[in-house]
Amino acid sequence: MSFFDTHLLNLVVFLPLVFAALVLMLPAGEAGQIRAVTFIAMLVDLAFGAWAYMRFEPGGPEFQLEYRVHWFKEFGLSYHLGVDGLAASLLLLTVFLGPLVVLASTTYISHRIKEFHLALLVLQTTMLGALVSLDVLLFYIFFEAMLIPMYLLVGVWGAEDRQMAAVKFFLYTLVGSLLMLVALIAVYFISSPAGARSFDYSSMYNGLLDANRQLSACTAGPPGACDSLTGLAATLHTYGPWLFAAFALAFAIKVPMWPVHTWLPDAHVQAPVAGSMILAGVMLKMGTFGFWRYAIPFFPVAAQNARPFLATLAVIGIVYGALMCLAQRDIKKLIAYSSVSHLGYCMLGIFALTAEGATGSAYQMLNHGISTGALFLLFGFLYERRHTRLMADFGGIAKVMPVFTVAFVIITFSSVAVPGTNGFIGEFLVLLGTFKSDLGAAAGNPHLTMVFGAFATLGVILGAAYMLWMVQKVFFGGLTHRENQHLTDMNLREMLTVLPFIILVGVMGLMPQPFLDRIEPSTSRFIARARVGTPGATVETEQVRVEVMGLPAQPTAAAPSAPAPLAARAVPSPRP
């Protein structure tokens, strides 16, 4: 591979930041230029991101396009990037949303334009960084750093009650992730002996692997068999649940799962269109991604024990979120709660631990990013025109905004998972995976699986109920309000912004296979890693062991991109 390939991810991640510097130099008055530069930045980033997505070979090693150099090696860190299938897909989603977000905000944001676009670019960098970082602490840094620009987006350019929402969002997510930090440090210490310690994903996972296997082996045995464990396994036996809980809490808040979801409606309602789009499109996925990449693989046994509980929460989230929607008068709040419901599907698919479920969940992440992102985008257009979020203030819009209505209805169908749209594939796979899963067995009675499945499927009905209810209230009926009679339909810019979403809805609905192929490998690995925790499951170490490139010999030298020989990888980066 060329120098370019080794640095592709660096490029994708930091390109927005570079352009941010450029924007910084522009005079604040030059709104047009600032927008143009930001838009170009996002476009270029999209190009590189798409390229990275294409470069990712489904059949290849787990992590590709790796790049790793020394960084804070005294603290056991290294600057390590790389993508697996899921990360690549989410990366594509992120870079896809980038330019559209800029387009969506061209007229929405009227003041402090420069700061706004700076925040957007920085946010893009942090999100991409969190997706591609293979050093857990690096991930954490990006994971937390992305709060700052989002916090500003909500707080500065948000609606009337923005400050409360911004602070709530920030603190809510921070509390969880700080506890995770402690757990993370603990894992750092227990995962490998002094001297060999590193925050690198591979060394952390591989360090815990054997202990996890011992643990699950003894959990299969008679009760009390685990008390005879020694060393790391014993530690995991005692503290694994707590560590897992810390991780799970952090990510559950981010997802958000019921009952730690209450920051989401406020943040969404107050955020500007760009904020809502990114929040729904990408940021929530950080939670599911975290479960997938860190929480469950690190502590498969604890995860296994917590599975029924978390799956129950997910199902509750599905139904509860949908019911919440029925009680809303505020359109953005409704869409926000629908996110709770949709993300419930994602979590359920993850905890189903079946190929269908996990892949469906990953696909649902992308779908949700597209459909809900588009819903927020479209509503943003409406809000720009009317500056109200209450359904009661609309009605009969279809008469004056036919094209807008068509777009909205199409996206609505995708959101309620009508077959032929992308939403269907994800939802169908998740539900199928749930029905095939052993959730019930994990919960004590195999037949409970049916209960999980049936309740989750209820979301299908409720979803249609609340979305169409909203559509009817807003678009159909007579034009009761005078203000609405002179609304103008979407202009070209707005159509161009929506079009990609609509196209993707169709494409991902009818030709999902290319996307699924890239997700599949990381699904199988994820399931194998999670299966380490199921008592009596036979998982080969080779299946689950994380293989990454070693650290370069001399610091700050570009690492060789070909995966290092196994001998080099067997021990994680040695600390001098």
Partner: protein, 519 residues
Amino acid sequence: MILPNLTLADFLPLIPAIILVVGACILLLSEVFLGAHASRSYQAVLTVVAAVAAGAMAVANMFEPAHEVFLGFGVLDPFSSFLTFVVCVGLGLAALSSVSFLRKRGAERGEFYALMLFAAAGMSLLALSNELITLFVNLEVLSIATYALTSYLRRGTRPSEAGFKYFILGAFSSAVLLYGAALLYGATGSTKLTDMVGPLSSALATQPALVYAGLILLGSGFAFKVAAVPFHMWTPDVYEGAPTPVTALMSAGVKAAAFAALVRVFLTLGKGIDPHLPLVLFSTLAFLTMVVGNLLAIPQRNVKRMLAYSSIAHAGYLLVGVAALFVTAPGEQFRLLGPSELTGGSPVELARSQALRGILFYLLAYTFSAVGAFTLVSVLERREDEEKGTAWDLERFSGLAQRRPGWAVAMAAFMLSLGGIPPTIGFMSKLLIFQSAVDSGLIGLAIIGVLSSAAGVYYYLRVVVYMFMRPVPEGALTLERSWSTELALVLSTAAVLVFGILPGPITAWLQQASSIFGQ
């Protein structure tokens, strides 16, 4: 009567202090030749030069092998040199920020900078003193200088009040410390820390009460200087009343020096006694300090006072690191990570050096963030409002982002760094502290720490909210800029952001500095 034969090498560690003192003397002398209305900005320059020179010397010393000097009254080790460096950083930044501050109040007089320099000298000497009386004297040198600085501004009631409180309580606490020193001397028959270790263990057997009382008294003396709850009560008032640059110096330098002395004394004496005592002592202090400091800061609308409370909270985090120093076997204390620590955990030395590293890096990080923050507070305040007490009100920050985006970003960086949000230096330092805490099994403290820091983020964010999300109030006073303040802000912002991502040489220094003499 034998005169000790001192080689030149013995003076090596003193050089930074000497530079500072010389600078001070030059300033005082130069005052003689100046008219009342002559411009005095050169004094700040001189101070900064002295600080830089001293800092450079300190860095140079940092790579000397650790050894005793002056017959063991002082030591030269990277630890003390690093602290001197930190102190000089604080001094330089504070001096830069005081130029326009003093000019605004027409209070430019040479003794201000001279006192600053004396105080800094006292700090750097405190960091390396290895004998109780020397330690006491140096402590007094820096204290007396700071007493004077605190009540330096004559107008208004606040400075004198602050000075009074600081002085009375400071004298009180140093008396306590001294009494403790006396008792320990009685128990061991020596005041040199290194010589006390041996007798201490035997004295512990014969007259434990004496030893314990001495240690407790000593400890509370230090606890006062580092403003640990419940010895913190003076802090908010003094910090509020003192001239803001002085507050900055206090929050950075005094704290750093005090921690240096604390760590040195208790590490050295700790070898002589059951380490359980200091562990419990400092864990308790850390717990109280973190929680109470943060809780008290939450309701503050007065930013300067809020920062004062937050500095208490930060002392708490530092104390977590100190507590981690006294865990003899990793994980043995709370067993929160279970027996596996014996396999997985670091050996004591490694854990200890990690803790030291954490403390030192935290001190540096805090210096940058806090001094920067106080600098910004100082440029926003106006003397006329001080009596009304509105000089430091949150309102001052409303809409700062529109008026001075640069300042707003800088302040935001300081706030996030104080709150420990990546990618700032504050995050890295907190990470190191909690890392060492977890490594020594002080998980409980670590969790309390992160939770209380989450609470802390609330009031830090409030400042950001006012700066970025509030409109500019009518009749907001004009913000004049001055090169020195801008420089100070730029430097500290750059440090806060860059060292948070690329530590540069600092990690190497830290590796060095975490080796303390006698450890």
